[in-house]
């Protein structure tokens, strides 16, 4: 390193610990005096830079930090209200969503159970004749229903209580030749009348009393007249 290079570095970084800088400093007295003058100048400059620091500045910094923290922590009433309303909305939305999901799942399960039940009791499909005069009323009474119009009995071929999915149900054969099956299933009441069908059946779920009335028939069978008559003739007390 020559003197020019040394002095250039000295004006940039007189505190460098570079080996060639230190070596030149040791061997060149002029450059040693130069670097000493630069550091002495810096010392004077440092002294001149020592502007007074306000005594209470640290306290103000702390105070501002604490206030900032408290402000961040403090939640205003309207923010609480907003947070609460958002929470309620989300919770309600979630609840309703869950309800809808749960109801849809129940309907699907009920339809599957009913179709399965009908398919597994073929012996009664071809029931002929008419139900004994009070049999239909007694079966329905067992499920909290009252037959208020006896005319419907002319459409009923057979009525009895059986079990589906470990639950007692009212099983009624109606329509022409007992082609239409009416089940009354206790349990979760659905929200609205819901038609359904599969490859060979059609039907409708009707919320009634403490459960649902299910009318199911082979595809192509008219069920609407029976559904209307059932609604008019049975009163639910549950």
């Amino acid at each position: 390193m020559n003197c020019l290079e040394f002095r250039r570095i000295c004006l940039s970084d007189p505190y460098t610990s570079a080996a060639d800088f230190a070596a030149h400093r040791l061997e060149c007295h002029e450059c040693t005096r130069f670097v000493d003058s630069v550091t002495a100048f810096d010392k004077k400059l440092l002294d001149a830079m020592q502007v007074p620091v306000p005594e209470d500045l640290a306290t103000r910094v702390k105070l501002r930090q604490v206030i900032g923290e408290e402000h961040a922590r403090r939640v205003r009433p309207w923010q609480w209200a907003l947070a609460a309303s958002i929470f309620v909305s989300v919770a309600l939305g979630g609840f309703l969503g869950l309800q809808v999901y749960s109801t849809n799942l129940y309907i699907a399960q009920l339809q599957a159970s009913v179709i399965d039940h009908v398919n597994n009791e073929p012996d009664f499909i071809s029931v002929q004749g008419k139900v004994p005069s009070d049999k239909f009323a007694r079966v329905m009474a067992a499920f909290g229903a009252e037959v208020v119009n006896k005319d419907i009995e002319s459409l009923i071929a057979h009525a009895y209580v059986c079990v589906m999915d470990k639950r007692p149900i009212a099983h009624i054969f109606a329509g022409n030749g007992g082609q239409v099956t009416v089940l009354y299933v206790t349990g979760k009441r659905i929200g609205a009348e819901t038609p359904f069908k599969d490859d060979s059946h059609q039907g409708v779920l009707i919320p009634a009393g403490g459960g649902n009335l299910v009318v199911i028939a082979p595809k192509g069978e008219q069920i609407e007249p029976l559904v209307t008559k059932l609604k008019q003739s049975i009163r639910w007390s549950i």
């Binding site: 440092l46 007074p52 702390k62």
Partner: protein, 190 residues
């Protein structure tokens, strides 16, 4: 480094294992004076420097979790200060104040050098452009290396060295002019 303040904050003590509050207290106790002086020389306004320091510490408090290396605590804090100043400057287009307005503060921590020599040096320093004054203040007052200054200012080390060279050269020229002016005044009076 002659100012002996490079590691005013014990690197070990600011390290991991301490609570956020303890780290903050150490940064405040160890570095606030230097930070205030740096802030002053950046903006050359006492009131704004105080505001700058308070805002810097507020931001430091929020981001203290990101401070992993105790050795870099000082440059970390100065970088926050420099950025905050740039943000405020952009926002307010601040009016600079002449350096001659610095005076004794009631209840100030240290005595203020009121000598003519100090006055002349401060005036010369204030005359430098921001580009030259900034690295010089960081080196002389902050005790930072060229690499650290580069980090604070967001420029290359070679650019820092060039600016420091020109800053010292300009200071020398300004002070030589001052000495000539003083001699002229003395000669005229004589």
């Amino acid at each position: 480094m002659f100012n002996g303040k490079k590691f005013t904050v014990d690197p070990v003590s600011v390290g991991m294992g301490r609570s956020k509050r303890e780290k903050f207290e150490l940064l405040l106790e160890g570095l606030m004076d230097d930070l205030y002086r740096y802030a002053y020389w950046v903006c050359r306004d006492r009131v704004q420097a105080e505001e700058l320091v308070q805002e810097t510490y507020l931001r430091a408090w929020k981001a203290i979790g990101s401070l992993r290396d105790a050795d870099s605590a000082k440059s970390w804090l100065f970088t926050i200060c420099r950025r905050e100043y740039a943000r405020q400057f952009e926002r307010k287009r601040l009016q600079m104040q002449d350096v001659e307005d610095i005076g004794e503060l009631p209840g100030a921590k240290v005595a203020f050098d009121t000598s003519t020599e100090a006055f002349v040096l401060r005036r010369a320093l204030a005359t430098l452009s921001d580009d030259y004054r900034d690295p010089l203040v960081l080196q002389v007052l902050g005790g930072f290396s060229c690499e650290e200054i580069a980090g604070v200012l967001g420029i290359s080390s070679s650019a820092v060295m060039t600016r420091l060279f020109r800053a010292r050269k300009q200071m020398r020229e300004l002070l030589t002019d001052d000495e000539s002016d003083s001699r002229c005044v003395t000669e005229v009076r004589a």
